[in-house]
Amino acid sequence: MDFNYLTTIIFLPAVGAILIAFIPGLSDKLIKRLAALFTLVPLALSIYLFAIFDRAAAGIQFEEKFSWIPAINAHYHLGVDGLSLPLVILMAFLGFLVVLISWKVDLRLREYFAWLLLLETSILGVFCSLDLLLFFLFWEIEVIPMYFLISIWGTGRKEYSAIKYVVYTLFGSAMMLTGILSLYFATGSLSMVDIAQGGPAMIQSVMPVAAIFFLLLVGFAVKLPVFPLHTWLPDAHTDAPTAVSVVLAGALLKMGGYGMIRLCVTIFPEVAQQYALLLVILAVVSVLYGAAVTLRQTDLKRLIAYSSISHMGYVLLGIFALGQVSLVGASLQMFSHGVITGLLFAMAGLVMHSAGERNLRKLGGLVRQMPIIAVIFSVAGLASLGLPLTSGFAAEFLVFVGSFSSTVVSGIQVCTILGVLGIVITAGYILWMLQRVFYGPPLKQFDKAKDADILERVYMFAFVAVIMGVGIYPAILTDVIKTGITPIMGLLGG
């Protein structure tokens, strides 16, 4: 190991945050440029890692391991495998683009970008940590920037939404902490790699293994979110500033799905198989309930927020179908949803900013005033409902094929078919939303609404390029993801 890529990727944004926060007398322009620089370099590095990632080898790569707290056997242990690398790239990608999306923020700029960069560091840290304590540390740090970002720069009932987010997250992580502690004492180790390799035999505990599994699962389920732990999400998404909604929907929710695969499934394969039926049913409920509630929304951002619940249901379905294809599909769905919903929120932000309105009943005919936004918004919407040639199609197709052919529980085919129904509802609300916002007779009050400027076009096309790229050639990601899923399948005995 000659160069600590992961440490650099994780902590560069934090360095940027500290510089922005503490160097006196920075001009607004310089703050934005610094923020862009300190997110662009991690993006470039993560793409470089993606390029040199060894697709033939399974297991952890770019590992870094140092003793951190000898007293409790904790290590500073980083590494990525096929499961986490796409998510690292996703976060680095969104991290850079949200700086561009935030270019027009003018309230308390210095604090804003400092918190935004700190948020990126913590999420990247979660995806790269291989030590349970380090993982939990990054997981917890994320709450603080989110609290400030929503409560200061948000809209509407922002303080209520921010504290609701914090309380839900802390409740989830409190459960997770007890789970981690139980796991630590049952195995004597904090290393995810060692515990996964040691298998259930390593867990010597008086408490049932399933209890540890569910303690951890609750922490992740709050984040994903899984019905009925989802109620923080619509509030937080709706009231957060655009850039934060993008990160929240794009990368933060994936911490839940990632944690489920990395800890729940990998460490407790038997328990996962035992309770798969329950979780698959919860997944289908999330899909259908999320989609049904989305149909009723009249607020543009709230609609997109609720659609996330439904789409994250597919992730849960793919994970607990516990098949090779379904797990690859779930991982791809996490990446794909991150980019698509990121774009949807960015577009919704532009519409709101430019038209000054986000109530679907009052919007209409905007295709006249903002043709480019209308086209890109439609592309994002179509990707979201799973149109072929977009990443949404590839991911959801894999999830459905994988779970339909799964043998983990009998009757999963019925659940899968019910899940597919979600797509139909998705098509309904997405098309309805596009129609309400962009079509119909042009309205006078929006005559002054502007279309996207150069900077906005740049990030829009970056999003679209990724969505289409992955949609046309999904193997670019699935090749990598497979190297992460194959060892897990070995544990599952499949």
Binding site: E140, I141, I144, L177, T178, L181, M207
Partner: protein, 491 residues
């Protein structure tokens, strides 16, 4: 044997206190008193550090012990005293008279606490405790306004009551064992059978009364009634001092007494371990829930300190069910308690120092007056935010590691139910700590005027914040020290 060299840290601190009082008579510039006190503290700390790591020694017929455990606490008290003195300079310079006495009393109560950490005999425990307490009674009433006087009187009366309970408990224990030296009490109890101990209800009652007496010091529920009023009325540096040093001293003495005198047989420690577990659960919940509606930040931190005492008692509770664990695993319960105390001390001191700086300007401790502090004093607000985050137990601050460590000890001792209560309490506590954060960063400032802070306050605040971050990110070294200190209670 009289090995006076073993109590040089204490002697030098006592000498400093006398020098400060005498200097107060002759020098006109009272600022030097703080400097002299600080130097005295540092010299004493230097002597204490020099003794670290040696074998355990005893002196004065086994009345005092000099071991790593005692030295760990002595250093902790000296560090706290130094920060409190630094934080007091502004505050005290406003006093017309008695500045020398103020510093001398701070030093004397630190001396009492240092002795508390070292005593191994019931009567000297009582004397050390009274030395620490009486100095604090006076300090609490130093402001001479009605609130401060009321606080002092309340503290004195309840404190005297607690001392009486403690003394009565000690008398009962002496009556049933015939010993005052902790090691000999332990031998006497181990000589008794289960039926013998159960028959001597007086011995059990004595232990209960001792718990009550010490419980007052650490502000454990149900002996916490004095906390909010005293915290609110006392001069803020003294509130800080009370909330960390007095609590740490209480825990030091509880650890010493219960581990060395009542540690064996194991069913006995299992029983009082359970008592502490229940007190911990009630304390955390009560402290956190009552802290939510508070409007005065000192009162809020008062209730929060009751809750923190609850988390700390989770560490005490781990003594139960130690049977069958390896010695290395067994130590986590105690060393995590020491680590938690160190991180709590730094965190709470940091929070109070920020409050001192802010109230110097505002003359108010109402949370609503902190509105817009993020604009008026960004660095102070940032430091206070860090300390509050640490009190919630979130990374990257010390409180996170401390909680992780102390809860890990509890999980290991099969106290998962207690850990679940504790982590849920952490979530509850986030609500009221974040309320202060919210007011500071989201509220509109009442005026645009900046809030200045003096050099001494800045130094004290930076030191404690640095410590909070250090213990939060690279806690390994201090954990190692805590482990060395805790190792001496092996059974």
């Amino acid at each position: 044997m009289l090995n006076f060299e073993l109590i040089i840290p204490e002697l030098s601190l006592a000498a400093t206190a006398v020098i400060v009082i005498l200097l107060d008579l002759v020098i006109p510039r009272k600022g030097w008193l703080a400097v002299v006190s600080l130097i005295g503290v540092l010299v004493s700390a230097g002597f204490a550090i020099a003794m670290w790591g040696g074998d355990s020694q005893t002196m004065f017929n086994n009345m005092l012990a000099v071991d790593n455990f005692a030295i760990f606490f002595k250093l902790l008290f000296l560090a706290i005293a130094a920060l409190v003195i630094l934080a007091s300079t502004d505050y005290v310079s406003k006093f017309a008279r008695f500045q020398g006495e103020y510093y001398a009393l701070v030093l004397l109560s630190a001396l009492g606490m240092m002795l508390m950490a070292a005593t191994t005999e019931l009567i000297s425990i009582y004397i050390a405790l009274e030395l620490a307490s009486i100095s604090l009674y006076i300090l609490v009433g130093f402001l001479k306004d009605p609130k401060s006087t009321e606080a002092s009187l309340k503290y004195l009366l309840l404190g005297a009551f607690a001392s009486a309970l403690l003394l009565f408990g000690m008398a009962l224990v002496f009556g049933f064992t015939g010993q005052t030296q902790l090691g000999e009490i332990a031998q006497a109890i181990q000589g008794m059978s289960l039926a013998g101990v159960l028959d001597s209800l007086g011995l059990i009652l004595g232990m209960v009364l001792i718990v009550a007496g010490f419980g007052f010091k650490i502000a454990a529920v149900p002996f916490h009634m004095w906390v909010p009023d005293v915290y609110e009325g006392a001069p803020t540096p003294i509130t800080a001092y009370l909330s960390v040093a007095s609590k740490a001293a209480g825990f030091a003495i509880i650890l010493r007494v219960f581990y060395s005198a009542f540690g064996l047989p194991s069913w006995l420690s299992l029983d009082w371990g359970l008592v502490f577990a229940v007190l911990a659960a009630i304390g955390m919940t009560l402290g956190n829930v009552i802290a939510i509606p508070q409007t005065n930040i000192k009162r809020m931190l008062g209730y929060s300190s009751i809750a923190q005492a609850g988390y700390l008692m989770v560490g005490l509770a781990t003594v139960g069910a130690t049977v069958g664990l390896s010695p290395a695993a067994d130590i986590v319960g105690r060393s995590s308690l020491l680590f938690f105390l160190a991180s709590y001390a730094l965190t709470n001191l940091g929070a109070f120092i920020a409050i001192i700086a802010i109230s110097n300007k505002l003359n108010s401790d109402l949370i609503s007056d902190y509105s817009g502090m993020g604009k008026r004093a960004p660095l102070l607000a940032l430091a206070l935010t860090l300390c509050l985050i640490s009190l919630i137990g979130m990374p990257p601050a010390a409180g996170f590691m401390a909680k992780f460590y102390i809860f890990s000890g509890a999980v290991q001792h099969d106290l998962l139910w207690l850990v679940v209560i504790a982590v849920i309490n952490s979530v509850i506590s986030a609500y009221y700590y974040l309320r202060v954060v919210k007011v500071m960063w989201l509220g509109e400032p009442a005026s645009e005027e900046k809030v200045p802070s003096s050099g001494a306050l800045r130094v004290a605040l930076s030191l404690s914040c640095l410590g909070v971050l250090l213990l939060g990110i690279i806690p390994g070294y201090v954990m190692k020290l805590a482990e060395m200190a805790a190792k001496m209670f092996a059974f």
